[in-house]
Symmetry: C2
Subunit: 602 residues, 2 copies
């Protein structure tokens, strides 16, 4: 069998040929990350993923998590995997080495995460939660907080979570009711109930540090009155030793459709009056802190969804090459069966899965690469420009990517036919696991509103236009290649329509038509994503054509030709449809708004 | 809370206002099925579905089926439900009363099945299998076979299944290897292994009659050598009593993504040499018999998928009306939260789910209505015309409907946010259960090939054009209504493009481009389905406008206005995109075919 989890050739292509990530090593910050080092890291991640994470994907799904009187047991196999993950120092790949981080470029960490999440995304949720919580401490913590918690988190000795959601405060975080009361010693007593808390309780770690959103008594209503606190499961004494249990109780875990290896906890804080936390960052600035972390978290969710889709593609490809079923369509009667990859409809599905998942890989790695460019840049204008483009791309990298990733996982089941519906193959689990990525960290409806309502107008539309300018660079490069000119023409027209559509919606946002604009927010996310996929695939094709001119090895020829063919397939079949969707958005149909509530059904 | 399972007003609308199904009672065959009787039947089905099937949906999903040494236990709650189902005589709704059937119109049975499947589709699988097996006996059985088996099947005393698939013969049925050897007494000894057999073994019934596809020794290879046999679990003596166990052994059941209440069995026939069957129909004509039954089976799978989507819609609607989250977008800062049905993106999702599911209901009921018209018609040309339209519609009713139904179930999860991913609500189960409808009874890839390869050219394209003529009738009716003229114009243009696209593909089928045509088979299924959805919704709008002219009650006004608004939403936002997809098909992109196999990945 060929590769699983993620196609190594393609991961390397994006890192070294499309993005040329080793250029980062020219800067001191990433000086040690030359190509050899990068390849070593990615190979190690790949081995760990394939040998230690992938084999337990199904087992962990079936075993699930167990709740017993406040305790939560994760799947047994996760303990060994977690030990290896800690030993490999994979939790804080990009973070400050002073605190146990590895200081590597974000792009390289994304490549490693591609393998990890493609192999066992439910397992990876534990680690991303620890890292996210740690990052909050690193960004907003006092020296004391960092000294007490951070190294233990980044090295995986202690866990982390994120306590935001409450039963009546999901998409509307500002509605939360968890209270914080200041004590004489400067700590806060916390009272409240949280739900949907991934890794809120588990037996992988001896302590868990919970960042908690709560409202200090007397603080304003809504998001303006929300503060962030660090609430350890066991209190941490000033000398770093662990103290008493801190009255943070897991009251149950959800039964759910997928990610069974990741416990989704309900948490009660201060039920016995004994829960204390320390303020993280400034009073009433909790939402600001969450927003700062949001880009990273949402990019990571995009990675989770994409990794499922990418793994599903490779499984489907391998199956289609081996599964004999039916003779070739043009074969004479009685001809023997052939591998189903020879059937046109299966080829169409496979090429759809390939182009979408490869386009997603490029898009996600590109966002990481922009972060790295920001890190090494000494020019404030450049930094601001990179940040703007990242901000525009995040709702696409989360919302569009996970929407399409779910579609791809569904196609990945279809290729297997009846077998795809059984637990004998990983396809159905990838589909079930992938579904959560469309929901958490802000539903994709929220992502669409973010793109339209916040990001489109960022810097007076300058951020969006900076992104457009990047796309135009690729179009210009493709025009120099006669073979790619027809494709660059289609992308150029699509981009033109996208700008028009964005302009129309931006106008509506500032008018009485604001609700109609938001009724088209998700379609706008769709067409923006389609255009950016087209861009990434054309960029790949341009790169591949350049490489083909250098007369590469036979195996590479097939790879590069596949890039050109994939771009042609996507750009000539998906983008014209995206243009029609843009035209529909511009007509501004308001039926969904005008519909009387009673007309939806009695 | 409002309605669940299926919207009664909408079911009645299709039956009595769109299709005017009681006109069938003018014919002797359906003489007793006047409106009052129809409403009584549908009400009874609705009550049974909501009170006795829906409450056990989740319980049965969690309990699942149990395999123990050849025996299969279905969920406990199914026993009571099955007793009620039998007592209500719901298994053979449309069949010959001589054999225990109810002789009702297919359209009315579809309405009942809408409720049953929307409430508990895994339970319903048992019944549809019994009915399908019985129908084979009714259609192809000798008098003796009918007398021995049929009444016990139609009344649910005995079960039924369908033994087609083998490990290496799925989509390619002709590859099957199960053998039949003729005995001196005229029976056949059967030897082989089957997989993916729904209800192949279960504890609901005392005997199971298995129709089995097998190859008689010496018969030709491929589908031309396949015969159909009746193989009872326990041999049935000539006097109707049950004899010895017939060496039909269930060797295991699949663990799978959904429909956990329906056992998916592996079956070993004749492992000890003791399995006998009788020929059903003529030697080597087994595939012909299966094809005759296929329309009914595929229509029913469309119903299963649609019923999941319809139930998911009503759940989402009820939730959106009750779930408070976030203030209205245009409200001043600090405004209180509102039910999420007031948010534009949720409205867009709900209207999408409403229009697709209602269009599906109309399409499926319409197919049933055509069957009924065929039944009552005494004109052979009419009968042939109806049959042709049905034949064209079946791959759409199965393939397109279940594709979109799965999408709608996915949207139905999104409306619930994080809760949608939990087992606390039915949304995730509807999504999981629905997935199988895209796969079994011929994957949707097979449906697409059926539409393109068989149905488009049926009667030299006459069947397709007969369908087109029906669409044109609605367009003409809509043109008389100024409010609907813009919509009928869009549908007319779309229909024109569909004919062009069909013509282009039909040309390709008869040329060297045949593989390219099949690479566009699934997109062609998509656009055909979109066009037919637009038709059904315009037909609904025409009907609703007529009813509005009669000054109906306030509640009905809301319903009818919803129909007009739904048609506007769908036709102005979905059909222009479908037109673009048709243009793409016509460009005939062959990338998926030209792609070297190595280029898909190493």
């Amino acid at each position: 069998m060929a590769q699983t989890v993620a196609d190594r050739r393609d991961v390397d292509f994006v890192l070294h040929e499309q993005l040329d990530v080793q250029q980062l090593s020219e800067h001191d910050t990433f000086g040690e990350f030359n190509k050899k080092t990068i390849d070593l890291i990615v190979s190690e991640a790949r081995n760990l993923a394939r040998k230690e994470l992938l084999p337990y994907l199904r087992e962990a799904d079936e075993e699930g998590c167990t709740f017993d009187n406040g305790k939560v047991l994760v799947p047994k196999a996760f303990h060994r995997a977690y030990d290896l993950f800690r030993k490999g120092e994979w939790i804080a790949m990009c973070d400050d080495p002073r605190w146990g981080g590895q200081g590597m470029p974000a792009t390289v960490a994304l490549a490693a995460n591609n393998y990890f999440n493609g192999a066992n995304f439910p397992f990876m949720l534990h680690n991303i939660l620890i890292h996210g919580a740690g990052k909050l401490v690193e960004r907003f913590g006092t020296d004391k907080q960092k000294n007490l918690y951070l190294k233990n988190m980044y090295t995986g000795k202690w866990g982390g979570s994120m306590l935001l959601t409450e039963p009546d405060a999901g998409s509307d975080v500002g509605a939360l009711t968890t209270r914080a009361v200041k004590n004489d010693d400067g700590t806060y007593s916390i009272f409240g109930n949280k739900i949907f808390i991934s890794s809120g309780e588990n037996d992988l770690v001896e302590n868990i540090i919970h960042p908690v959103l709560a409202r200090i008594e007397g603080a304003p209503a809504g998001t303006a009155g929300i503060s962030l606190f660090l609430v350890p499961k066991f209190w941490v004494n000033d000398d770093g030793t662990m103290g008493d249990f801190n009255d943070v109780i897991c009251t149950g875990i959800e039964e759910k459709m997928g990610i069974h290896g990741s416990p989704t906890c309900s948490m009660a804080l201060g039920g016995k009056g004994g829960c204390r936390g320390t303020l993280l960052g400034a009073e009433n600035k909790g939402m600001r802190a969450m927003f700062v972390m949001m880009n990273e978290a949402r990019l990571h969710v995009g990675m989770q969804g994409f990794a499922c889709a990418g793994a599903s593609y490779l499984n489907a490809l391998n199956y289609a090459r081996e599964r004999i079923q039916g003779p070739a369509l043009t074969a004479p009667k009685g001809a023997p069966g052939v591998p189903i990859i020879q059937h046109p409809d299966i080829r169409r599905i496979l090429l759809t899965m390939k182009t979408f998942s490869e386009g997603m890989r490029s898009l996600l790695f590109y966002v990481g690469f922009l972060e790295d460019l920001m890190t090494v840049s000494s020019n404030d204008a450049d930094k601001a420009r990179y940040q703007g483009i990242i901000d525009v791309l995040i709702p696409v990298a989360k919302g569009y990517v996970t929407d399409r990733a779910f579609d791809m996982c569904s196609l990945g089941v279809q290729v297997f036919g009846g077998y795809g519906f059984t637990k004998e193959y990983p396809q159905e689990q990838l589909l079930r696991d992938c579904k959560i990525t469309q929901i958490y960290e802000g539903t994709n409806g929220i992502q669409a509103m973010d793109l339209l309502g916040r990001k489109l107008g960022l810097n007076n539309g300058g951020a969006f236009m900076d992104l457009v300018a990047e796309v135009e660079k690729t179009i210009a490069a493709a025009k120099k290649e006669s073979l790619l000119t027809p494709l660059s023409d289609i992308l150029e027209t699509t981009l033109h329509h996208l700008k028009e559509t964005a302009g129309k919606l931006a106008g509506d946002l500032g008018s009485d038509n604001i609700l109609a604009a938001f009724a088209h927010a998700h379609p706008f996310l769709d067409v923006t994503g389609d255009t950016l996929m087209g861009w990434m695939l054309l960029w790949r094709a341009v790169t591949a054509r350049q490489k083909l001119a250098d007369k590469p090895q036979k195996k590479d020829v097939a790879f590069y030709q596949g890039q050109v063919m994939g771009a042609r397939f996507f750009i000539t079949t998906v983008l014209p449809v995206a243009q029609a969707k843009m035209a529909v958005i511009q007509t501004g149909d308001a039926s969904a708004l005008e519909m009387a509530e009673a007309s939806f059904g009695s």
